[in-house]
Amino acid sequence: MATVEKLTPEEVTAKNYPALAPVAPLLGPGHDYESISDTITSVVVEKPHPPGWFIMAAVGMCFLSLLGISTAYLFARGTGTWGVTIPIAWGFAIINFVWWIGIGHAGTLISAVLLLLRQDWRNAINRFAEAMTIFAVACAGMFPLLHLGRPWVAFFILPYPNSMGLWPQFRSPLVWDVFAISTYGSVSLLFWYIGLIPDFATCRDRAKNRFAQIAYGMASLGWRGSSRHWFRYETASMLLAGLCTPLVVSVHSIVSFDFSASQLPGWHTTIFPPYFVAGAIYAGFAMVLTMALPVRKWYKMESIITTRHIDNMAKVMLTVGLIVCYGYASELFYAWYSGSSYERFMMWNRIWAGPYRYAYWALIVCNFVVPQLLWIKSVRVNPIPLFGVCMFINVGMWLERYVIVVTSLTRDFLPSSWGTYHGTIWDWGIFAGTLGFFTVCMCLFIRFMPMVAIHEIRVTHHKNTSHGH
């Protein structure tokens, strides 16, 4: 028997197996260590910004203004300006909250889980995705605060000894949300910032003006790139990745408990925790690609964020999308299998007889039908159709939450409590406003911070040139 030690890499490739057929590179040709740093830092310290960036920032600013106006009006007039009513007491606030939290998950998955799984292709997109996590969590956090009606007493949700003898209801998943999301936000922020430190130091060394040198110098915390620094950096990264990994699952599981711990048909179903986590990753990857595809084009980053990255992300998206669709099918089947008239009515109302059936079928088109195009490689590696598919998924994942929240609440157990729900202009205003906030934050991030982790791309280059040994 031939032992593998005798099978050299040359012999393996010489066999020319199709499985080892040409693949897109993880790093474009012609790069060396210097050119990698140049390409990435030039966006921050030198390069004039393309028109696309200005358009994106301008549109974002307009929407951000809308957030200011809508919020001011809300504070002046109260939550009655929203479409919420009984029986729909949550409405857009919870829909948008869940949507944004979900979007943040891709960042943590890419940066933590893929790091632990040793997936090198994460290197070019992790920084971008982590930034999205932070901004998405910030957007999500606005909704519960605004929905309180009196956001200045939001701290009541925290358990602290007080003269009123007031404690949160620890059995409520809403309280768990507070702990889960604040932990998630803090750890994600820390992880993101630690990753940025070496790159801030690179920007400090390359900055052209004094103010930028001082700012990047302070942000880099005195990083000198010594081996001791790198050792501690790597240790901290692995530890934080280990901490973040359970958070990927726990946060959206707890968000799903907000619904599933109730008795309401359409909300109360046991598959919700993993199904919500899969949905979060699905939405998150779609949003990462939505932002990364145009930015990569504008800044001519195709050699850093290559078609291989895009292809891999599309494959992850297809996989988790199918898991989400399994959730839809499972809900459908078990509602029928249950034999419960309430469950069966809920599903019949959702898919056929109810006023929101169009939303359900639109979500099936967006989240199931259209993403099946991702089975085709040319769709996965071509930015334009891929961008289109991602937009469908972005809309579809919002509709999913809309369907869960609205169809279930409008038709609960008692026909006397049935109602209808539609978001008002102020609901839409705040939602659009958070989109603006997110876009502006992303623009500022691209403008002032290295959007790709320089040192990690250098590691990729090192592995490529040394054959992974």
């Binding site: 593998v4 080892l20 040709p29 046991t270 925790p273």
Partner: protein, 424 residues
């Protein structure tokens, strides 16, 4: 280049001999005990042969779970292209080739609904609560379109047709790759794996509903089937690791298996252990918190002191202890240590399956009964004896490593071969 058959290490070949003798003997013991320790019908406890059929289902689900878990892991392995798992590929494939035997082994479970459909006999019938719809609650009667003997039996044939079809296809290609070294086969693996994995998930969803969930027909849970997949994968990984450690003691596998492989397997087992706990706990929390009559019956039937103790033990010994044991990196890299953890996990897999199967038959007087433990244990060894014999027989038939697979270099050296780049 490759040897066509494998000489099993002495321990395994001796095990095979013992297994085929122990199998039928323990099945007879299970039947005998079932009659000898007959329960009292007034307490709702099983009478006569009924306990044997219940125990048979318990034992069957465990061994069947290894074969199906192997099928799923092979598909995931080809889909993701994770090269390191190649060292377990032939063990998994041998396990899947027992599916035709398992189909035959399903006959005792099939016979109840079949006899009911033919002559209305209720003897040894595991699914009486829904077969006899006249006495069933309204919520169960509403399920008659799905839960009826004819459709149920037809589905059994359909599931096995799909599983044996997928198994035959992948085993055939694997053999062909060994014989011809045709690299195109590796592409076929990758191309068909996702579709077959979807088929596995869907069929296993319905099969778990038919065979296990419907034992308590009023209850339903959307988490049940995913929990079934995860449990199967965990059992399979623990079992496969044990077999791998035995095979790797001698050549040819000894040349290929490194501590890194054990490390990866240990990590995967830890991951699936956590996933099992996550899903089990989520299902419990959601059901407990809503406290709906049609759902909470599942947990109230498991609330007797002995079953509650078992549930706590499952949390401690099926989740917490393996998790802590597998966090230790050096341990995971030691075949001896990891194998012991796998034996531990396999034992608690038995306890978990007992926890979800047995109480379904004792709703009026829930509890852990000595009679059940004896009959269930005997049936498990009985079915396992025959299954192990068949499995080791299949394992002997083919080369223990896929020497012609293009991914082998990476599997063994843990180094990527240089990529042929599109734009290089």
């Amino acid at each position: 280049m490759s040897t066509n058959t494998v000489t099993l290490p002495f321990g395994l070949s001796r095990l095979r001999g013992i297994a085929i003798m122990a199998g039928p003997v323990f099945l007879l013991v299970a039947i005998g005990l079932s009659f000898a320790l007959s329960g009292d019908p007034d307490t709702g406890r099983s009478v006569g042969i009924d306990t044997f059929f219940q125990a048979y289902l318990f034992g069957y689900l465990l061994w069947f779970g290894i074969a199906m878990g192997s099928l799923a892991l092979i598909l995931i392995h080809h889909l993701t292209g994770g090269a390191w798992s190649f060292v377990t590929q032939r063990i998994l494939e041998a396990s899947t080739r027992t599916l035709p035997l398992l189909f035959v082994g399903f006959i005792p479970i099939l016979v109840g609904p079949l006899m009911w459909a033919i002559n209305g006999s209720a003897v040894g019938n595991l699914y009486q609560p829904w077969l006899n719809m006249e006495d069933a609650e309204i919520i169960v009667q509403n399920k008659e379109a799905y839960l009826n003997a004819g459709f149920w039996i037809a589905r059994v044939f359909f599931y096995f047709a799909v599983w044996i079809g997928i198994m035959s296809l992948f085993n055939h290609w694997s053999k062909k790759l060994d014989e011809t070294g045709d690299g195109n086969i590796a592409v076929k693996f990758k191309r068909f794996a996702p579709l077959c994995l979807i088929a596995y998930c869907l069929t296993m969803t319905f099969a778990s509903t038919d065979w296990a969930l419907s034992l308590e027909p009023a209850y339903f849970s959307t988490m049940y089937a995913p929990l079934f997949w995860i449990s199967q994968a965990l059992t399979t990984l623990a079992f496969t690791t044990i077999i791998l450690s035995k095979l790797a003691q001698t050549k040819p596998l000894a040349e290929y298996v490194t501590v890194d492989h054990y490390h990866h397997l240990g990590n995967l087992i830890m991951g699936f252990t956590v996933l099992w706990a996550y899903m089990s706990f989520s299902q419990y929390l959601i059901t407990w918190s809503a406290n709906l009559p049609e759902e909470i019956i599942y947990y109230t039937a498991r609330r007797s002191p002995s079953l509650a103790v078992l549930a706590v033990c499952l949390m401690a010994f099926h989740f917490l202890v393996p998790l802590l044991l597998l966090l230790w990196k050096r341990g995971k890299r030691s075949p001896n240590y990891l194998t012991k953890v796998c034996y531990w996990i396999l034992f608690w897999r038995l306890a978990d399956v007992f926890w979800f199967v047995s109480p379904a038959f004792h709703h009026e007087a829930p509890g852990v009964y000595l009679k059940d433990l004896l009959v269930y244990g005997s049936a498990w060894i009985g079915i396992g004896g025959i299954w192990i014999w068949a499995f080791l027989g299949q394992l002997q038939k083919r080369s223990v490593i896929a020497v012609n697979d293009p991914r082998l270099y990476e599997a063994v050296t843990h180094k990527k071969p240089p990529e042929v780049l599109e734009h290089a």
